[in-house]
Point group: C2
Chain length 434, copies 2
């Protein structure tokens, strides 16, 4: 027995879930840098919302433990090695992706205060402050809640049950990866940080992807992970571009309907100035893909690709292909990234349908890093739909419509206004699984 | 890092497969004691035979490593704790199962010399000596060859592949056990020592059985293990009675056809004197079940049960039930132990057909402790049919017919003679899987 190791382990009061500020999605850093330059004074409030009311987090998770984890995350700073990696690494083929002024800020950054309350069996967890600071909470907050929920269930299980649980989960992931191996020319990345079962498990699934599909840098199908810490440690590409929070906040800041209508394009105009190549990926669904594309300026059709994150993915992809054609672009040169609640069968179907017509790529999230469905009594380890969204900007409420009315958020009258301004039109509801 | 542990581990030249003389089947000890009393001077030669010619053991396994393992096994002696367990424990409800003179001999026992040659890609491994000494090699020799073959394949696999391999194997076993849990009143034991994947794996499958089915001592379905070492360490029943080698050797010693005809009953008469209750289990198939039962003396019908180890198990069980009825016995009081190459579907079918008509019990062997079918490239970890049999006694060749002509062993002319003497009649060939 290694007494020193055991004594050392006992010195830790808690087993931290977030052990590094890089344990977050790469696009948060890209977006933070953009906000740091373009909207440095905007104050945004983020709120963690559990869409799965049946998972009563406040009954499962001890408030003291939750605070310990959040407080521990607040104690973190970028280490020297992490900073070196961000400054010195190549991202999307580009050196010095992060500007010196941003890096200087980030090196001194700590997560800001949080506000935590219990209500109706749920936790109300909010973060308010400068946008580029408060936004850094999104991924750690989600990962902490998800993993504390996993731990609450795992704590009730015996040593043997745990062994079987992980044997089954590993077997399941590996069989999925074996199925993916059958798709010629596949490109796929890990997008599963936010709703992962746990850090170690995400790390394991990433290793399984490397092992089973091969790192794309060596000609394999696995193009990388959105998780910066895992990318750094496993020497992978850190991937991701931008997310809904940019158009949501820009829209909330609009002073009238015309500014509102232009807000999503304003976001991408700012992005256009900063980034090129594979970082120019349109996320069109914040207020409805159809209206967004119809009214989009021509320079947007020149962008590299599009990410489809809600609605029927086949319909979305066909819409994008038609749109490119209508703007005189060749879809063969364009990239479609599918990223909405995917699993293997759906990816195979999309791959078969669209590979050869456009470049296809997948961002595989929850069902890579948290597919424990059916593996614990009462399905108590099944993933659920937890989100952390910007809810207001400088005091104005934000709205998200997406291509699925089940995913819309914001005050009802504002939703109506947005639907009118963006000519969102009729939408089909789809169940939100993960 | 625990330097002391690492240094200690490095002192071992080999990682021994057999670490204890108790790492053997319980019935070997019962039979050895019987032989020790009834046939102390008989000299028997045992030979290890690989029925699966396609598994070329001499090409897979290094001869030096094999000799190291065999030599290490020869260095073992019963430890004080092991001796205490054998002397002090209750087996089948009986104290002092092992007589003092036998224990005295066993406490000083070491495995005798072996003879090893390579031939046609196989190892010829033989053991000759006093019957009760040479017979002790059977299980260690089989377990060593099986595990060295596993190791030869595992050594070529990476860390990740190994993890997936065992995750899949664990998941498979656990799903089998979950299926077994659906059988009300099930009784089942581990009989898998001889053809196990490895010692640690057998030990794990036994723990899975305890966990999934419950120890029969606490009302569960798992009645114990044939492996004495695991029984001792896990505080389980050690189970097993007698095997084909007794009638095979008694028969080989017969001076004429009449003595030959009586030999199998002579074995059981000796056994009858020594044991009662659940140890009185008939193994009827050595020279054909049908003839054996037809000519059996009436006192045998009073025995507790029968073990069916070859042939069609349904036919064998129906034959046994008819036989008990014809001798005025109530089959409801009788036990049938099925033990031939079983897996879950077959056990479920047998259970459904016979539970309620007789007492049913299963001895689950290779497909509990070595079901790695399909889990490694080229199915290189699939179990195969390795046996270690008595081939001669005092210079006379032995014969085994069993209820499956594919399993018969011995010189052709002797097989013909045995078939005539025992009125074996027509037999149906069944593939030998494990």
């Amino acid at each position: 027995m290694d007494i020193a190791a055991r004594v050392y382990n006992h010195k830790w009061k808690i087993d931290p879930i977030i052990r590094s500020l890089l344990d977050t999605d790469f696009y948060k850093l890209l977006m933070a840098q953009s906000v740091f330059r373009n909207k440095p004074d905007t104050v945004v409030r983020f709120s963690l919302i559990n869409r799965a009311h049946s998972v009563r987090l406040a009954e499962l998770i001890d408030e003291g433990e939750l605070r310990e984890q959040l407080d521990y995350a607040r104690s973190l700073r970028l280490t020297r090695g992490e900073s070196t990696w961000l400054r010195g690494n190549t991202f999307y083929g580009k050196r010095q992706m992060f500007r010196p002024d941003f890096m200087e800020w980030f090196e001194n950054f700590q997560l800001p205060a949080y506000h935590l309350e219990k209500k109706d069996g749920q936790y109300e967890l909010t973060f308010e402050g400068k946008w580029y600071e408060a936004m850094m909470w999104e991924i750690p907050a989600l990962a902490i809640l998800m993993e504390l929920r996993s731990r609450a269930v795992l704590n009730r299980m015996g040593r043997f049950d745990l062994q079987i649980l992980y044997a089954r989960a590993m077997t399941r992931i590996w069989e999925k990866i074996e199925a993916l191996r059958e798709l010629p020319g596949l490109k796929i990345a890990d997008f599963g940080t936010r709703r992962r079962h746990g850090f170690l498990w995400q790390d394991w699934t990433v290793q399984a992807m490397i092992e089973g599909l091969g790192d794309a840098a060596q000609g394999g199908a696995f193009t990388g992970t959105s998780n910066c810490l895992i990318a750094m440690r496993r020497d992978l590409e850190a991937v991701g571009t931008n997310a809904h929070e940019l158009p949501m906040v820009y829209a909330a800041l609009a002073k009238n309907d015309e500014e509102l209508r232009q807000a999503p394009y304003r976001v991408l105009a700012d992005w256009h100035e900063e980034h090129d190549g594979n970082l120019r990926i349109i996320l069109p669904d914040t207020f409805g893909t159809k209206g967004f594309l119809e009214h989009a300026p021509d320079w947007l059709a020149g962008w590299t690709g599009i990410r489809l994150d809600s609605g029927d993915p086949v319909e979305g992809a066909e819409t994008a292909i038609s749109w490119w054609k209508s703007r005189g672009e060749d879809p063969h040169d364009k990239l479609i990234i599918f990223s909405d609640g995917l699993d293997v069968a759906e990816m195979a179907a999309l791959h078969h349908r669209f590979a050869g017509r456009v470049k296809v790529s997948f961002g595989w999230g929850t069902l890579l890093t948290n597919d424990f469905r059916g593996l614990a009594p009462n399905d108590s380890l099944a993933p659920f739909s937890l989100v952390c969204k910007a809810v207001s900007a400088d005091g104005h409420p934000t709205v998200k419509l997406s291509d699925n009315p089940e995913k819309s958020t914001g005050p009802a009258e504002e939703i109506d206004r947005y639907r009118r301004v963006f000519e969102t039109g009729a939408q089909t509801a789809r169940p939100v699984i993960v």
